[in-house]
């Protein structure tokens, strides 16, 4: 079941380049699974016209949290919202991360960290590998409820953690018999795939981002190509795909 609800902002934190918003929902939070997303109407006017999709970062009872990176006009409008404002949200949308009984490695690039706080509460004792451009893109991890067994950070300019990318962190691990969950920009996911191709018996799932219209399978605007040249929809077939199911 999907819901369209007017949700009140109950908490707002601007954290480095990120916006953390917590909403009170009626049904969305209670029915959400890790990996699912919501589609938000950021303004009641038509600027912008379409909703904006965001991964569910956490739920607690009837509250829903999102982690939003400032990008363009839609996210900018969200940065301007205040506690007590109501936003029109639809969700929970899309599929969820499959739960695999193996040691988990979460690979996050930038705001790609968003779905993993929620997932870590179901799959506890996973290892988080987190790559950011610089420390300005590193959210205050301790502010989010999560249960990663270990966290390793890489930054491109070396301002936080190891100097390098999340791929440098990942390449230090033997991935056979592990499950990898990855979310981040497409170039990062492609680099993860390159590593995966050399491992035997690896299982991996990506949460992918596309331009999206409705978010619930109607407009067919968020098509992603499969290796056989067919199309899948990021909103209803995904956003979680097995790593070799889609071409990025």
């Amino acid at each position: 079941m999907k819901y369209q609800e007017q949700c009140e902002i109950v908490e707002k934190i601007i954290d480095h380049s990120y916006l953390f918003l917590k909403f009170r929902t009626k049904n969305i939070a209670k029915n959400a699974l890790a990996g699912q997303f919501v589609n938000i109407r950021v303004n009641n006017s038509f600027t912008p016209l379409l909703r904006r999709p965001f991964s569910i970062t956490d739920t607690e009872g009837d509250t829903l949290s999102l982690l939003i990176l400032l990008k363009g006009k839609g996210t900018e409008a969200l940065f301007g919202k205040k506690i007590g404002d109501f936003l029109d949200i639809i969700g929970p949308l899309g599929n969820s991360f499959p739960l695999i009984n193996r040691r988990a490695i979460f690979v996050a690039g930038g705001v790609g960290i968003a779905p993993f706080f929620f997932l870590s509460k179901t799959i506890s004792s996973g290892l988080l590998l987190f790559g950011v451009k610089s420390k300005e893109y590193l959210p205050e991890l301790s502010a989010y409820s999560s249960s990663f067994s270990e966290v390793k950070i890489a930054s491109e300019d070396g301002s936080s953690g190891k100097k390098g990318t999340v791929i440098d962190l990942l390449s230090e691990y033997d991935l056979s018999d592990k499950v990898v969950y990855a979310c981040g920009p497409n170039p990062m996911l492609r680099a993860v795939s390159k590593i995966l191709r050399d491992c035997a018996q690896v299982e991996a799932y990506y949460s992918i981002e596309t331009i999206m219209g409705c978010g619930f399978g109607v407009c067919k605007g968020c098509a992603v190509e499969t290796p056989s040249g067919q199309y899948k929809l990021a909103c209803t077939d995904g956003p979680i795909f097995s790593w070799n199911e889609v071409k990025l």
Binding site: Q4, F46, L49, L50, G213, V218
Partner: protein, 283 residues
């Protein structure tokens, strides 16, 4: 003067419909909307052969508008017909289900219309003539008035359920509307999306593989209003308005322009509950 709440012999609860391609195959909005609040729902256009659609990107947001180049992704006539034969889920909806179809030839339209008329859950058909005719180098069917005449005449002879004919705003829709009327159509739909385009100036490339795309949303409303007015002046059969409707006020404007019914398209994506709210407000 109020237009009757009827198309052919089919009665409607109210004047609010949803537009094809923006309402899926009917199931997708059931969590958001009580369909019994609506006059009718129009399903995604089904083509003779399955179509996998265009490569991404398929949509682009513009100020107050939307460009789409979906490529009529659908499972094709055979599959959809067989599935409905087995399980006519459309029967459960307490509203008029309008089934939209498009062929690759004049004969395809007539054949598909005949088959889908057998499905009890389908109350009415929409012949989408604003889609490319592969036998005429990709020009839309409605670019040739002779096609309009033949498709409508043959369909009218063959099927027992009412049907509307949906036109492109880029063709001579006034002339086409007259032809549709005297050839036996029960209504006309004005109109499909406008011809649009998007280009990346930086890379000097076209955004969409097909270069052009369909333009819809609030931005097109003034053009749609003028087109509906012109078509409604030309024919006596009901005109179903489509283009940029986003509120009860918009809906009223189209009714004043001469439409008998209004359909909500792009705005279903923005507010999936909107059609129900508009229906309540314009009562």
């Amino acid at each position: 003067m109020k237009a009757p709440l009827k198309i052919g012999s089919l009665s409607f609860r109210n004047r609010v419909l949803t537009a094809s391609g923006t309402f899926g195959m009917g199931k997708e909005f059931s969590d958001f909307l009580d369909y019994s609040q609506l006059g009718g729902i129009t399903l995604k256009t089904i083509t003779k052969n399955p179509r996998q659609g265009n490569p991404p990107p398929r949509i682009l947001e513009t100020p107050y508008g939307l460009l789409n180049s979906i490529g009529l992704e659908n499972e094709g006539f055979q599959k959809v017909y067989q599935d409905l034969k087995k399980n006519d889920y459309l029967r459960q909806y307490d509203t008029n289900v309008i089934f939209s179809l498009a062929g690759d030839s004049v004969e395809d339209y007539v054949e598909m219309a005949r088959f889908f008329c057998e499905i009890e859950g389908i109350a009415m058909l929409e012949l989408n003539l604003s889609c490319p005719n592969v036998h005429e180098g990709g020009a839309t069917f409605d670019s040739n008035p002779e096609n309009v005449k033949r498709i409508v005449e043959e369909t009218a002879k063959t099927v027992s359920k009412p049907f509307t004919v949906k036109f492109s705003p880029s063709q001579d829709f006034v002339k086409n509307s007259r032809i549709a009327e005297y050839s036996g159509a029960h209504a006309i739909t004005i109109s499909n999306t406008f011809l649009g385009m998007a280009i990346h100036a930086k890379t000097k490339t076209f955004v969409f593989k097909n270069k052009t795309a369909g333009y819809s949303g609030p931005a097109v409303k003034p053009m749609a209003l003028a087109n509906v007015y012109r078509a409604a002046q030309a024919v006596k059969i009901p005109v179903i308005a489509s283009g940029g409707i986003s509120s009860a006020e918009d809906a009223s404007e189209f009714l004043i322009a001469g439409a008998s019914f209004i359909s909500i398209g792009t705005l279903n994506f923005v507010d999936p509950g909107l059609a129900g709210k508009i229906a309540k407000e314009i009562e």
